[in-house]
């Protein structure tokens, strides 16, 4: 069985894996966006001691090793860990939590840069009208929304492509926590290289499709708002 036959036959297992991959990665990006967008904007607009260090830290964390994040979340959620009572280890929700942590620095850091650039353009205007700090954050996030899509897509790309955290905290359980990337790792270890490569091509196609959709939405709304 190769990947093309799998697609052609509308294989239910493949469909479930694709759905889980998208659901986990998109949820992680949504959570990271809710926290990361305002955080990045605030960091761009405020000045406080230690700000430079915080920005360096945030930029550095864009390169957080997925395995380390996975292991940390594993130890937290394990039955023997501090949050063990929740019973979340080896569930999709654990994968969402771990990926949110992975994606958050990417979204926050890219938002910070985008808003800071925008701020130099808008500063006089917003200061003259007397908009407060939260109003500034809101205005700039809204006006920068098209550029910020790129930050969200970068986060999504990271989440959809990584295997380290989802393997450790999800456990690659068949029909439950098996994603595209862990399925590829499994087929590789079975020596089923053509199928592994085929799944890889499907994954790349999915990531392209999400990006194309984002591009389409952006073009459509840009046209509408002028």
């Amino acid at each position: 069985m190769n990947a093309w036959q799998l697609i052609a036959s509308g294989d239910a297992t493949l469909f479930a894996i694709v759905r889980l991959s998208l659901m986990v990665s998109l949820s992680a990006v949504a959570i990271a966006a809710v926290i990361g967008l305002p955080l990045g904007a605030l960091l761009a607009l405020t000045r406080f001691p230690g700000r430079a260090a915080l920005i360096v830290l945030l930029n550095g964390f864009m390169g957080l090793p997925p395995v380390v994040v996975g292991l940390s979340v594993y130890l937290l959620l394990s039955r023997s860990g501090p949050l063990g009572g929740w019973g979340l280890l080896f569930t999709p929700l654990a994968m969402v939590i771990a990926q949110s942590l992975l994606v958050l620095p990417i979204i926050a850091a890219l938002t910070r840069q985008t808003i800071e650039d925008l701020w130099s353009e808008y500063r006089d205007e917003l200061t003259a009208v007397g908009v407060g700090p939260w109003g500034r954050v809101a205005t700039l996030l809204w006006d920068g929304r098209f550029s910020l899509t790129t930050a969200l897509l970068a986060g999504f790309g990271r989440a959809a492509a990584e295997v380290g955290t989802v393997m450790i905290v999800g456990g690659n359980i068949d029909g439950f926590t098996r994603t595209m990337t862990t399925a590829i790792a499994l087929e590789t270890s079975k020596g089923n290289l053509p199928l592994a490569l085929g799944l890889g091509i499907i994954l790349i196609g999915l990531i392209l499709a999400v990006n194309a959709a984002a591009w389409g939405v952006r073009a459509w709304s840009e046209q509408r708002t002028g």
Binding site: M23, S27, A30, I31, A33, V34, S78, R79, S80, G81, G84, G87, L88, L89, F90, T91, P92, L93, V96, A138, L141, W142, R145, G171, N172, I173, D174, F176, T177, L186, T188, S189, K190, G191, N192, L193
Partner: protein, 277 residues
């Protein structure tokens, strides 16, 4: 802006509540098992039969034996299904496991390149083969991951009279990964590797590799299953876990294991209730 955030938050909560309700209603157990049982395809064959009979879903996390036992120690699995008897007995003695049951066996095989640079093909003396590999310094891939297969390999070096931790050179490559990965590595570097027969039979990327040594009694590979002790970890689903163990060692479960074949070859031989030693 606000509306968009609101939508994102709402979507997140929807997902979380869906996840939580899925957790609450399920009749399932987590089994920590080995890469050999997963990579060989055994679970895909027997688990649907078990689910049909009992309605219990078995979620398998495939790790090396050492890691699987550790997952059990942490309370993150309900049942462990592994193959390193000494480590399993230790697990029970420490109080982490309730009781160990024999389930099935297969055997290890020494896999190596067709050209056989160490000249070991055809012998049924695994210790002599290991000595020849060491003497000729031909590439040997070790799992190096505390798995059942890795423990067996270390035991075989000892039986060959070789202290591998002192004797290893660049020819001895510890990769720290699962059985499939070890076979892939051996295949690409044309080295020798110890594998369980099941994973080897279902392995697709063989390249120039073939079985060079088999049939030695010391290559016997026993699998056992243990319920994680609910007294150590109250979260363990003892009833469902024990149901799985009872089924595995029942005539029905044993038949299901025996019926699993790859290319007409039986991969695992049920032996519950018999003392193999």
């Amino acid at each position: 802006m606000l509306r968009r955030h609101f939508l994102a938050i709402a979507a997140t909560f929807l997902f979380i509540s869906a996840g939580v309700s899925a957790l609450a209603q399920d009749k399932s157990i987590v089994v920590a098992s080995t890469t050999s049982t997963q990579d060989s395809g055994l679970f895909e064959h027997i688990l649907p039969l078990f689910k049909e009979k009992t309605g219990i879903e078995v979620k398998v996390v495939a790790q090396g034996t050492g890691q699987a036992l550790d997952t059990g120690r942490r309370g993150d699995a309900d049942v462990v299904f592994v193959h390193a008897k000494a480590q399993e007995e230790e697990f029970v003695e420490e109080g982490y496991g309730v009781k160990r049951f024999d389930v099935m066996y297969n055997d290890f095989v020494l896999v190596g390149p067709k050209e056989d640079p160490a000249g070991v093909a055809g012998t049924d003396d695994i210790a002599a083969a290991f000595q020849a590999i060491r003497d000729k310094q031909t590439p040997f891939v070790s799992r190096g991951d505390k798995s059942g297969t890795h423990s067996a390999e270390l035991r075989l070096w000892k039986e060959a009279g070789i202290d591998i931790s002192a004797d290893k050179g660049p020819w001895y490559r510890e990769i720290g990964q699962g059985m499939g990965a070890a076979l892939n590595t051996a295949s690409s570097m044309n080295g020798y590797v110890l594998s369980d027969r099941g994973t080897w039979l279902s392995f697709k990327n063989r390249g120039d590799l073939e079985i060079v040594v088999e049939g030695d009694k010391r290559l016997f590979n026993q699998y056992g299953v243990i319920l994680v002790n609910p007294e150590k970890h109250p979260s363990v689903k003892a009833e469902l876990g024990q149901a799985f163990i009872d089924w595995l060692v029942s005539p029905e479960g044993q038949e299901a294991i025996a019926a699993y074949k790859v290319d007409g070859q039986q991969l695992f031989f049920p032996n519950a209730g018999q003392d193999p030693s």
